[in-house]
Amino acid sequence: MRFLKLYLVLLISSCSIHCFSQSADSVWVEKKSSNLSSSYISSLIYPGARLGVELPVNTIYISKIRKSGKTRVFTKDRFVTANLSWYHHPAFHDNVYLSVGWTMRRTKSNGFMTEFSPEVGLSRTFLAGTTYRVDDNGNVSIKKRAGYYYTLFSVGGGIGYDFSITQRKPFSIFSKFNVLMMFPYNSTIYLRPVVEIGLIYKPFGFLSLKVKSKSRTK
């Protein structure tokens, strides 16, 4: 047991030394605006839409000096997001889902960006057709607003371009691939791949939040 503790201490120490070696950090608090996003979402040919808000949590400005002597500069942003989405699958269902997520975005100095975002949420489907009930006496009635609530998870990753970096325009464009997982769907899960193409608008002073920012040179 003692050896295990010692091993863990050494492991954590070596990781810390490795990760933060040769780095110079400075930390400050800045006020950052929130972003609005809207996108077209699609599974194969089935259309949908999505509206969201991105609340900034922290930003790390990183300068990395390469062996060649060149400096690579990029930014890591973290956002808490809230999104309302909908897609339409004819003869199957319409799905409206509300989700919150954690977006990890990395933006290069040339404006190119990549991101990864897990989300969790609640889905409400609406069956794509009149839904009937038949009682034990054979009487038929229509069930209104037929559909189901599901717990929803989503993971997605994508690429984009931030025009605010190179052209000082307050928006970015992006494309993402997401996988939705809903459950309990017929006592199992339902998976759905979703492609997303959209726009992130960065209005000045919109829902400004104090954000912990960090500058790091490696």
Partner: protein, 346 residues
């Protein structure tokens, strides 16, 4: 406020999709759902609803879904005369629900089928003539339906296509057929190595099959028909040729439902289920269709139904080029027999 308006609009759009629309015509395609005990089951009605004659496909599996039967050939050769109802049973195809696995059992599904028939009559008129067609596991489900209470009075005919109404008998017949064909194939030196494995298995497992043995026989039977060149191979790739995107297949729902249903506990309960002893109550006209190379549900099952039902209005026909999916492997034969049967009993 501006943000709320589109979503209020969206809510009305979503609920307007659920308004009742019933079409009487010669080229109809409409989808609606039956909600029963935890499941919302999809029904797609296509074809000639003005004929007031409906052929209900009761699919196999459990869990296969009805999409596979909706082929261009059936559209052109049956739907032009009658309406075809593609029903996705609970936990299959495009059927939806939450935690409803506890209701996945044969009595519940028999009740579902009864309500499907009642719903069709409600939508298209009580005078609608309904024929039910059970394929594979659908044979067991339709046998359950036909032998329960007075259900058979609701339909004009029963079509039993590559079906099974007696799982223990099914296992024995599959074993016998694998042995008989296998020995011939070994003598003719055709796929001898794979047949020898099957023969050895059949020789060491002779009766009172466990659930696992039954599954192994099923696996051998599924592969067996692919050894005969005249039998068209049906697999996922061939099924996906029917343009699933154009036909709005919810592909992940179909696959995940199939996976859940085929592994569900109730399959163990089905292993000992039989309706042979109850078939004497059936007096409804019956058409029995079978593929000569159907190892999964051998023709002995159709013969058993034929011998036990209590009607003289019955016919058994065997396709010489078909395996377990007669409606896909011998389409012209299937459509001709089904149309002739319906025409003479509608």
């Amino acid at each position: 406020m501006k943000l709320i308006i589109p979503f209020v609009f969206l809510f009305f759009v979503l609920t307007s999709c659920q308004k009742e629309k019933i079409t009487i015509g010669t080229n109809v395609s409409e989808t609606f759902y039956l909600d029963n005990n935890g499941a919302s089951m999809r029904l797609l009605v296509e074809g000639n609803t003005s004929s007031h004659t409906f052929l209900v496909f009761v699919h196999g599996g459990p869990g296969t879904g009805s999409f596979i039967y909706n082929t261009p050939y059936i559209s052109q050769n049956i739907e032009n005369k009658y309406a075809v109802v593609y029903w996705d049973q609970r936990n299959a195809g495009a059927s939806q629900g939450n935690s409803n696995g506890d209701h996945l059992n044969l009595p519940q599904m028999t009740d579902d089928l009864k309500k499907v028939v009642q719903l069709i009559k409600h939508r298209y008129g009580q005078d609608s003539g309904i024929f039910i067609l059970g394929h594979s596991f659908g044979g067991l489900l339709t046998a359950s339906f036909m032998t329960k209470d007075d259900n058979q009075s609701m339909v004009k005919g029963w079509i039993f296509a590559d079906g099974s109404h007696n799982y223990p008998l099914n296992d024995s017949l599959t074993r016998q057929m694998l042995l008989a064909f296998g020995q011939q194939q070994v003598i003719q030196n055709r796929n001898a190595d794979s047949w020898k494995i099957i023969i050895q298995y059949c020789n060491t497992h002779t009766s009172n099959f466990t659930f696992e043995e039954s599954n192994q026989l099923f696996a051998y039977a599924t592969n067996a028909e692919t050894n005969f060149k005249k039998v068209e191979e049906i697999n996922l790739a061939t099924l996906l040729q029917d343009d699933p995107v154009k036909n709005d297949w919810p592909i992940t729902s179909i696959l995940l439902n199939l996976r859940y249903s085929s592994d569900a506990q109730f399959n163990r309960d089905l292993a000992n289920t039989e309706f042979s002893s109850m078939l004497g109550v059936v007096t409804t006209p019956t058409l029995l269709l079978c593929g000569k190379y159907d190892f999964i549900c051998p023709e002995g099952l159709e013969e058993d139904v034929y011998n036990r039902i209590n009607t003289t209005d019955k016919k058994i026909v065997i396709s010489p080029i078909s395996g377990h999916n007669i409606m896909l492997q011998d389409e012209s034969f299937f459509c001709k027999e089904v149309n002739t049967f319906i025409e003479s009993h509608q």
